[in-house]
């Protein structure tokens, strides 16, 4: 069959290869250019606060007072950083146990019912727009907190609760996939030694899938960290560190969305907001690296 290697005949084949290669290459190039321009843009804007306006980065990270329009202006972003971290971590603390238990139920206890009905319902939560979450939080959670706890009801507690519902699908879906992917032999091995179902779940299933479960939590925290609208609606947006969970506070995202429209491009106040955006972006990178690290560990 020597003629099948004929160059003349093989040509359309080679052309096809090339077209495919070039199209995919162009797509990935476009993506990479976009990502790098965003990073460059945010970084150059965010860093100009330090280089052009001579704001000390340490002051920005540790200062407690935020008044960019004041005389003299203060750029203390610590209240926002604190707000972002406390709401996201608190949200993960609420959502993680719920998500784990839900996924254990769906995979181990009642797989038929769980996989067919519960999982789609939980995944549906991910599709609800964040403004709806914020609205529900504002009209249900905030009044409830106001009645039960001292304060206005707005604050970190309300923000964390709204966020926890928003990140529940992320944590649950990843946990469910991890549990379902566990080799069947491990569970059988445990049962065959005379373990009960709970001993098996508690001693074998959860420890073995722990890296994947942690991945879910970190992705959940990352999502909570970046969420702006829903949090902004229920947190109160006062630029200071609150003394209780039910006192008005701010996050990095809510600070940016609230003031972005009111500052002139290139002004000091505007640049300061870009610095907040830079902090957000860097934190997101950190989360991505943590996830990568955990994923590497989960491949046992």
């Amino acid at each position: 069959m020597a003629q099948s290697f004929d160059r003349q005949k093989a040509k359309p084949h080679i052309a096809e290869e090339w077209v495919g290669k070039i199209v995919t290459l162009l797509c990935i190039a476009l993506l990479i250019i976009t990502i790098f321009s965003i990073v460059y843009f945010v970084a150059s804007k965010g860093l100009s606060t330090f280089f052009k306006n001579n704001v000390n980065p340490i002051d920005l990270l540790t200062g407690l007072k935020w008044s960019p329009e004041g005389e003299p202006p203060f750029f203390g972003a610590l209240p926002f950083i604190f707000g972002s971290f406390s709401t996201s971590i608190l949200a993960a603390l609420i959502a993680a146990p719920l998500g784990f238990c839900a996924s254990v139920f769906m995979v181990e206890i009642s797989p038929k019912f769980g996989r067919r009905y519960l999982q789609p319902v939980i995944e549906l939560l991910a599709g609800i727009p964040s403004v709806v979450y914020g609205f529900v939080g504002l009209s249900v959670i905030v009044p409830f907190f106001r009645d039960v706890f001292p304060g206005q009801g707005i604050g970190i507690a309300a923000g964390a609760l709204v966020l926890s519902i928003m990140i529940l699908p992320t944590i649950t879906t990843i946990a469910t996939d991890a549990l379902a992917a566990l080799p069947k032999g491990l569970k059988e091995g445990s049962y065959a030694l005379g373990s009960t179902r709970w001993q098996t779940i508690y001693r074998i299933v959860l420890p073995t899938t722990l890296p994947s479960l942690m991945t879910g939590i970190v992705l959940g925290i990352a999502r909570a960290f970046g969420e702006a609208l829903a949090v902004q609606m229920v947190i109160g947006n006062a630029p200071h560190i609150p003394r209780s969970l039910f006192e008005s506070a701010s996050t990095l995202t809510s600070a940016i969305t609230l003031s972005m429209g009111n500052t002139a491009m290139g002004s000091l106040a505007n640049n300061a907001l870009w610095s907040l955006a830079l902090i957000l972006m860097l934190m997101t990178f950190v989360f991505v690296f943590i996830v990568r690290f955990l994923e590497g560990r989960s491949k046992l």
């Binding site: 797989p111 059988e188 065959a192 030694l193 005379g194 001993q199 073995t208």
Partner: protein, 252 residues
């Protein structure tokens, strides 16, 4: 130590409507190795899994008939499956060590059956590993991950793990088919050793292995036992044409 055997009577297994094992009656004596042979899909593994009620874990799987240990039918709904499985250990084709240290793999079973004393656990770990012929290779690295062991070592670890809960009967589902020849012969030596203390039932695709390690052999075909006899008789003087065809390699 009292030696206990196992008797299956009219045992049938259905997956949904499809019968996988049809009214099998077999008697497994203590201190003996019984091999179950037969072509793929003949129901021998399913039968084996029924003996320690592992098939309970599979939805749609129905096991009917009786399994007698001493004077108890363990295939009844009132059986405490958890304590039953302590008495009947199981080893699979693919080694399935837990993602824990060697020590923790062995201590796993005893610990959850109430042995908390560190010294007693140490003793069980050492004895079990010795019985599984793994002690010499692992005594200096008991706290290392079990996943770092070779496939053959992992399989012996799994055997040690099931010995640690002091069973009477050990079920083995093709325990050497995923291993290299050297590891396989180690497992076979081990089976010969363990025979002194336990009733062993082994499913195997390897005819030579069945001939080497077992005292009695049952030949399964399409969910039924065609022939059950001393291994020697099965391999040298089979009574049925199907058995003869299978062991001479004409099908399967």
């Amino acid at each position: 130590m009292e030696h206990i055997g196992l008797t299956a009577k009219d045992l049938s297994v259905h997956y949904g409507d499809r019968p996988a094992v049809k009214k099998v009656s077999l008697d497994f004596a203590a201190k003996q190795v019984t091999a179950l042979i037969g072509p793929s899909g003949c129901g021998k593994s399913t039968f084996l899994r029924s003996l320690n009620r592992m098939n309970d874990l599979i939805p749609n799987c129905k096991v009917t008939g009786e399994i007698w240990i001493r004077d108890k039918n363990i295939n009844s709904p009132s059986t405490d499956v958890v304590s039953l499985r302590q008495k009947i250990g199981m080893v699979w084709q693919r080694p399935n060590p837990f993602h824990k240290s060697i020590y923790e793999n062995i201590a796993f079973g005893p610990r959850y059956h109430g042995i908390k004393n560190k010294k007693a656990l140490d003793e069980i770990v050492e004895q079990s590993l010795k019985k599984a012929a793994l002690w010499e290779e692992t005594k200096d690295r008991l706290n290392n991950s079990a996943l770092a062991l070779s496939g053959g070592q992992q399989q012996r670890l799994c055997i040690a793990r099931s010995i640690a809960v002091k069973p009477d009967i050990i079920l083995m589902d093709e325990p050497a088919s995923a291993l290299d020849p050297v590891s396989t012969s180690k497992i076979e030596e081990l089976i010969a050793d363990l025979k002194r203390d336990y009733c062993i039932v082994i499913v195997t695709h390897n005819m030579q292995q069945a001939a080497r390690v077992s005292d009695k052999t049952a030949f399964f075909l399409t969910g039924e036992v065609m022939e059950y006899d001393l291994t020697q008789n099965i391999f040298t003087n089979p009574q049925r044409q199907e058995t003869s065809d299978y062991i001479t390699g004409r099908f399967g």
